[in-house]
């Protein structure tokens, strides 16, 4: 992209150069013309002075060349710059005087004699209407009685303005010419001829004209051209300083504003269009900033609303889940209570009957089937015990009481829980829990049950062995978190959301009540239990419980 500065510099440069050249050419032509005109006027004056000189007329009339000296000397006195290249004075028959300048090389034979004019002038009548002045120049020459002027170039290269004038015998009083015009002369026979005494021819050299022109070129035209260029540079500097620089500054500020910095303002340095543009730009920036601030406020409020809505939605969802879980728990609890209560007694009776049967029936009684009988009896006892345990669990689940809280040390709780669980040898355990951790306000029995469930689940998740890490740490000022991390098989993503649901289990022999019960207990303690698991890498359960307010 071509910048305005470059365009401006290019344009002004072309303009300045063009104007400079045109001005110089025009001035040069004008000067030359003026110099030529001045030379023509000077030559006209000189030749007319000579032609009208009485002594010249007398010399021509009496054919005495000696009488020409005084007139020629007077002419030389006037020609101070010695511009007269040659001079020729002749009467109607012969050349009486021919002179040329010593300084200029000119061959007088090359100067034409104007013989055709000589013939013409011989019979020239007095002209009454030649008062309009002297006509000079080759193109304007019309009257034979007027001055004749032309440009001559000799073989040596010298250029002359050649002036030619007729010397008349007498002149007519101009007012009498006018009188003749006014009063009419048509009735008068005027046979009188105006005698032509001779001719004066004079050449003014162009060398002085060229010198003067050269002088003007060096003294006027070149300084003028230089002045125009300097003026152009100043103009360019002015334009770039006062026009482009503010625009560039404005462009930079625009970029800043576009990048979000709406505090940028333009310094108003002038009261012209650029100043007005700066004022308008600042006004626009202020409006933009006000709009932006307003939008930010609205966006902030919107974000707060969205955040609120999100939290509300989350809470609603959690509440819904809790409600659902609670309903489920209630239903399961009710069912477990009913089923447990109904099965407990028959199972008790079966257990008692098995005890009695085992006591009263001896091996002899079964006649060779003693080993099989014992094996069956062990199975029945084992399964009955298991059924009783299930029923007890169901009853325990249904009978979870409101927690009776008291401050407890979390490290003691962890150690107590670990001591009550049989941890396989292949599983290593690490516990990070400082004694200085603040006590938590919990029902020790229920929380121990939660911890036991989580430790058991972790061990079961690592059948091939692994590492169980238990870490207790303060979570903010009001909670304490305990994490149980195993390096087991992990929980698939598709079942994570159901892991705390009652009767849901991934284990083959599980009832699906342990985590549901743990979740229920933690909730009753106004805590949280969360799950993070990555399939194949392990699972982390985090239990957050409120810290006991020891000061209160």
């Amino acid at each position: 992209m071509t910048s305005i500065r470059a365009k401006l510099v290019l344009f002004v440069s072309i303009l300045v150069v063009t104007i400079g050249i045109l001005c110089c050419v025009f001035l040069l032509n004008h000067t030359k013309r003026q110099q030529e005109d001045a030379l023509k006027k000077f030559g006209t004056s000189l030749v007319m002075l000579l032609a009208q000189d009485n002594e010249v007329a007398y010399a021509l009339h009496s054919a005495q060349p000696a009488f020409l000296d005084a007139a020629i000397n007077r002419l030389r006195d006037i020609d101070m710059e010695e511009e007269i290249g040659y001079l020729r004075i002749s009467n109607t028959r012969t050349v009486m005087r021919e002179e040329k300048s010593q300084r200029i090389n000119v061959n007088m034979e090359e100067i034409p004699m104007k013989k055709s004019l000589l013939k013409h002038h011989m019979t020239t009548r007095k002209s009454l209407w030649s008062r309009g002045g002297i006509h000079t120049g080759t193109s304007t020459f019309s009257s034979p009685s007027a001055l004749f002027c032309e440009r001559i170039k000799t073989s040596s290269g010298a250029v002359f303005c050649d002036f030619f004038a007729t010397v008349f015998g007498k002149k007519t009083f101009s007012e009498e010419e006018f009188a003749a015009q006014i009063l009419g002369e048509d009735k008068v026979s005027k046979e009188e001829l105006r005698p032509v005494l001779g001719f004066v021819q004079m050449g003014l050299s162009h060398h002085k004209l060229n010198e003067r022109t050269q002088k003007i070129i060096w003294q006027s035209i070149i300084p003028m051209g230089f002045g125009i260029v300097c003026g152009g540079i100043c103009l360019m500097f002015f334009l770039t300083t006062y026009l482009v620089s503010p625009l560039r500054h404005m462009a930079n500020i625009t970029l800043d504003i576009a990048s979000g910095n709406l505090t940028r303002m333009i310094d108003v340095k002038s009261r012209d269009e650029i100043g007005q543009l700066s004022i308008n730009f600042n006004e626009m920036t202020r409006s933009l900033k006000a709009s932006h601030d307003e939008k930010e406020k609205i966006m902030e409020r919107l974000r707060d609303h969205i955040k609120g809505l999100y939290n509300t939605n989350k809470e609603l969802k959690e509440t819904q889940e809790r409600l659902l879980r609670s309903e489920k728990l209630a239903t399961v609890g009710k069912l477990a209570s009913g089923v447990g209560h109904e099965l407990r007694n028959p199972l008790g009776a079966i257990k008692n009957a098995l005890f009695l049967l085992n006591k009263n029936v001896s091996v002899a009684h079964v006649q060779g089937e003693g080993q099989k009988f014992n094996a069956f009896m062990e199975i029945i006892e084992k399964e009955t015990e298991r059924s009783i345990k299930i029923v007890n669990d169901l009853l325990g689940f249904s009978r979870t009481a409101k927690p009776t809280v008291s401050p407890a040390n979390v490290r003691a709780l962890i150690e107590s829980s670990l001591s009550r669980v049989r941890i396989p040898e292949k599983v290593n355990k690490i516990v990070y829990a400082e004694d200085s951790l603040p006590p938590i306000l919990v029902d020790v029995t229920q929380i121990e049950q939660v911890f036991i469930n989580l430790i058991q689940n972790a061990c079961e998740a690592m059948p091939m062995g692994g590492l169980l890490t238990i870490r207790a740490q303060k979570e903010g000022s009001s909670a304490l978190s305990t994490t149980f991390t195993d390096t087991g098989c992990g929980i698939p993503d598709n079942v994570k959301h159901m892991i705390f649901d009652p009767l849901f289990t991934t284990k083959s022999n599980g009832l699906g009540l342990g985590l549901a019960l743990s979740h229920s207990i933690i909730q009753r303690h106004e805590g949280h239990i969360t799950l993070e698991s990555q399939e194949g890498k392990g699972t982390t359960f985090t239990v957050k419980l409120p810290i006991a307010n020891t000061q209160g």
Binding site: N54, T172, G184
Partner: protein, 326 residues
């Protein structure tokens, strides 16, 4: 003593004869030269040979008859200043001094005024004489132009009053005439529209500018204004603008102007002769000044009148009216 009276009676006739002879001789000796001496001589200087000057000189010669004024010589100055000076020097060197000098034309008048201070000089046929300061105790003359009043009177008769009259003039030459005309124009109910020019070449544009504003163009004898070009442009003004042109010269009428009021040149000469007689009979102590021509002639261009649409029949019946083309 005896008286001899009878002898006296005898020679009475001879004595009477002698007495008559003595009286005759006395008369011849004392009175005839005085009578001869009483015939005044006038030298005429003519600026150049033009018809109008010759006509005036002819009138002067006619006017001198029976007035005991004789024209000694007529000198022609050929319109040349140097020659004029030479001739005047020659006349001055001549022993016989003329009683009066008649200068015909501006060259003759100016040279005569310059070289003769003790002889009455009467000039005539000097166009626009105000310009040449022809004043002095021995200088008197007759104007070669009709008075402005006479010119405007004719104009009013032709055009009627309340007209815009245009005049182009060179202030260096004819300012005085225009200033007088401005006063006279108001008396006649005319509005003089003036246009000043300094150079001859300005006349064409001045004419172009002034013609739309005027009802008639008045050409005064101004050598800057009246040129060959002006004369050639008169028919165009009449053709294009229908503006009548009037002047003080019948030459203009021939060039296309509508009317001119000019002096009768021959009568100017007669008037000059009367002036010379008056000056020589009873020489005044001061100059008689410049007199207006007593007889004027009106030159009308009937063709121009027809082109413009002006009826000049009523004026054609006036005396001394010359019609052109005849």
């Amino acid at each position: 003593m005896k008286q001899i009276f009878p002898q006296s009676e005898r020679y009475h006739g001879v004595i009477l004869l002698w007495w008559f002879a003595a009286v005759f001789l006395f008369q011849t000796t004392f009175f005839v030269p005085r009578l001869i001496a009483a015939e005044k001589t006038v030298v005429i200087f003519r600026s150049q040979q033009i018809a109008a000057y010759n006509e005036a000189i002819l009138g002067f010669e006619e006017g001198c008859k029976e007035k005991n004024i004789s024209i000694k010589t007529i000198y022609d100055l050929h319109g040349d200043t140097e020659e004029g000076k030479r001739i005047i020097q020659m006349v001055k060197k001549d022993g016989t001094k003329p009683d009066a000098i008649l200068a015909v034309g501006v060259l003759a008048a100016t040279l005569a005024k310059e070289h003769f201070s003790d002889i009455p000089v009467i000039f005539c046929m000097v166009i626009n004489h105000d310009r040449f300061n022809l004043q002095g105790a021995n200088i008197t003359g007759i104007s070669s132009e009709a008075s402005i009043e006479d010119q405007f009177a004719v104009l009013k008769e032709i055009l009627g009053p309340h007209k815009n009259i245009g005049v182009i003039y060179d202030p260096l030459k004819t300012r005085k005439i225009v200033a007088q005309a401005n006063i006279v124009a108001k008396q006649f109910g005319f509005n003089l529209v003036k246009s000043e020019v300094v150079l001859e070449k300005e006349v064409a544009s001045a004419l172009k500018n002034i013609t739309p504003k005027i009802d008639a163009l008045w050409l005064i004898p101004d050598s800057t204004v009246i040129t060959k070009n002006t004369l050639s442009s008169i028919p165009k003004i009449i053709q294009d603008r229908r503006v009548p042109v009037f002047s003080t010269s019948d030459v203009m009428v021939k060039a296309g102007a509508l009317v001119s009021v000019s002096p009768d040149y021959k009568h100017t000469g007669i008037q000059a002769a009367q002036l010379v007689q008056r000056l020589l009979t009873d020489p005044p102590s001061t100059s008689l000044g410049i007199q207006q021509p007593k007889k004027l002639k009106l030159t009308l261009n009937t063709q121009t009148a027809k082109t413009i649409g002006i009826n000049l029949l009523f004026i054609q019946s006036y005396p001394d009216v010359v019609l052109y083309p005849q």
